[in-house]
């Protein structure tokens, strides 16, 4: 058995090494540098796996610099590198050198969501609850969106930027002019739905109408209220698609 004092002392000695490891601004001896390099390389590799398009856009060196910043301010805490780096979008927003490429923050946000959705276990659909649509007044029926899907809205043509980069081996092969035109021509907000199909995360654009439909579902509007608010929506077709792509989990009946 250890006394509390002995345990605390050991914790402090271990903590001292960890502090010297994470705060890479302090000078370090050769042995400690091996650990620092290893930590930074692990972190940079994790970021590049989670954010492949960001890596294409700004390069590995810039990603390593961002990894160093993230380590200092948002160190890993789960033991799984795949869960680290969710704050990259915020860091990009705060980094002056990247400010002129305003879309980067949204690309980072999209890649993090893709990463999360791609690792999630798809929620099953309780198809028995579909009978609520026939058995209960629609003003008492609510739709429940799957927790394993996500939506993103952006002022940039986010899908075009992402698709242009995701399979590139080298940024030199990018169609810069085409992409620049797509960005310049883009007007208004773009909306994307991210969901999982065949164990792989997928992206598809949402119209402004579909996006608002999802927002209203998540606000808890009943089916009757949804249909009232969105008369242009083809509910039967939407429901069929939502079931096929596991976008919803169930319908519920609620009481006033």
């Amino acid at each position: 058995m250890l006394t509390d004092l002995e345990r605390k002392a050991l914790q402090n000695r271990q903590r001292q090494l960890v502090n010297n490891l994470f705060d890479q601004r302090k000078p370090a001896a050769n042995g400690l540098m091996v650990y620092r390099n290893s930590l930074l390389m692990n972190a940079a590799r994790a970021l590049s796996l989670t954010y492949p398009v960001m890596t294409q856009l700004i390069g590995e060196q810039a990603m390593t610099i961002l990894a160093r910043e993230l380590l200092l301010n948002h160190p890993p805490h789960s033991g799984d590198w795949a869960e680290w780096g969710g704050e990259l979008s915020d860091l990009v927003r705060q980094t002056q050198a990247l400010a002129e490429m305003g879309f980067l923050q949204d690309v980072a946000r999209l890649e993090w969501v893709l990463h999360q959705v791609g690792r999630a276990s798809p929620a099953p659909i309780d198809v028995t609850t579909l009978q609520h649509l026939e058995q209960i007044p629609l003003n008492r029926v609510r739709i429940h969106v799957s927790p394993a899907i996500a939506r993103i809205s952006s002022d940039y043509p986010l899908e075009a930027i992402w698709r242009a980069h995701r399979h590139l081996a080298h940024s030199e092969s990018l169609d810069h002019r085409g992409l620049a035109e797509a960005v310049a021509d883009h007007q208004g907000e773009s909306h994307l739905l991210i969901y999982q199909q065949s164990a792989v995360p997928r992206i598809r654009p949402l119209s402004a109408l579909e996006n608002q439909w999802f927002i209203d579902i998540q606000r808890g509007l009943s089916v009757a209220e949804l249909l009232d608010r969105h008369p242009q929506m083809d509910f039967a077709q939407w429901l069929s698609d939502a079931i096929a792509h596991r976008l919803i989990t169930h319908l519920s009946k609620h009481f006033f």
């Binding site: 090494l17 650990y35 890993p76 791609g118």
Partner: protein, 288 residues
């Protein structure tokens, strides 16, 4: 000496080799994967894990348990490892004699690496508590691997082998002996003859406590520079020589080739495992 179920060889399975490993035929007996890479509840890794298990015996190798952490093993991590173990029913389960959970900037952190332990009675008590807790939670014996280390953490009151032997006695865990780590540590300690150092280290370990060997190679450096266990090269001649000695001493044990950086082709990797198998058979034949 028997040459049966322990005469098995495997390789660390890394992503670029998945297609070859899972679609072609292979002579290897088992593969090792890093546990954390399969923590996701869904997605492609969950599918891959099932595919891997249908082809090979599975060794789950953790890199983040932090068994020597004075603040204990992270509960959330342990719960997820338990879930993965239940899902994958691994043939072997291992992690390292290292610490990794600590505090930084007033928050709990995972240090992202295998940090060295001080070889003291206090650290031993902590390590034994953590190993006990993990084995009880997982309902399974684990193997604990000796690490390469690049700083001396604290004046030692035990040798590394005394520390590990005591750990085995107190917890009934097994040891995963990484032979390259012994050579790396000997180099970095300034030993003139790393191979002799490593052999002496092995003689201090009861053979029955060894449950697996790891073999790897490191990028060579001049004697005055720090040698890093980068798993980026084939097993060295010293590594093979040490493996023959270890097999003579302990008998055949499941043996794995670790190669993580500057990956070779799949056939080259398998060839390394086959060389290990040949040595096991030679030692077995000579012993009879």
């Amino acid at each position: 000496m028997t040459c049966s179920k322990n005469s098995v060889v495997g390789v660390g399975l890394r992503y670029p080799h998945y297609e070859m490993a899972l679609n072609g035929s292979s002579s290897i007996d088992f593969v090792e994967v890093h546990a954390e890479n399969f923590f996701a509840e869904g997605g492609i890794t969950a599918v891959l894990l099932d595919d891997i298990r249908s082809h090979y015996k599975l060794s789950l190798h953790g890199t983040a348990l932090g068994l020597g952490s004075a603040m204990g093993v992270n509960e959330h991590y342990l719960e997820r490892l338990k879930h993965l173990v239940e899902r994958s029913d691994p043939w072997l389960l291992s992690d390292h004699a290292a610490f990794t959970w600590s505090r930084f900037n007033h928050q709990d952190v995972h240090a992202g690496d295998l940090l060295p332990l001080e070889f003291s009675h206090q650290a031993m008590t902590v390590m034994a508590e953590n190993v006990d807790r993990v084995q009880q939670r997982l309902g399974q014996k684990i193997l604990v691997e000796n690490i390469s280390q690049y700083v001396t953490f604290h004046p030692a009151t035990l040798s590394e082998t005394e520390f590990l032997v005591s750990l085995v006695e107190r917890t009934q865990c097994g040891l995963l002996v990484d032979l390259n780590n012994l050579l790396v540590n000997a180099h970095n300690a300034g030993c003139d003859d790393p191979l002799s150092y490593a052999k002496a280290w092995l003689r201090e370990i009861p053979p029955h406590s060894i449950g697996e060997f790891h073999l790897a190679g490191s990028t060579p450096v001049p004697a005055s520079e720090i040698l890093v266990d980068d798993h980026a090269q084939p097993v060295t001649d010293s590594g093979w020589s040490l493996f023959r000695f270890a097999t003579e001493l302990a008998g055949p044990r499941p043996t794995l080739i670790e190669w993580d950086n500057q990956l070779p082709t799949w056939p080259e990797l398998v060839q390394q495992a086959e060389r290990a198998r040949a040595i096991i058979h030679e030692v077995h034949t000579n012993a009879h």
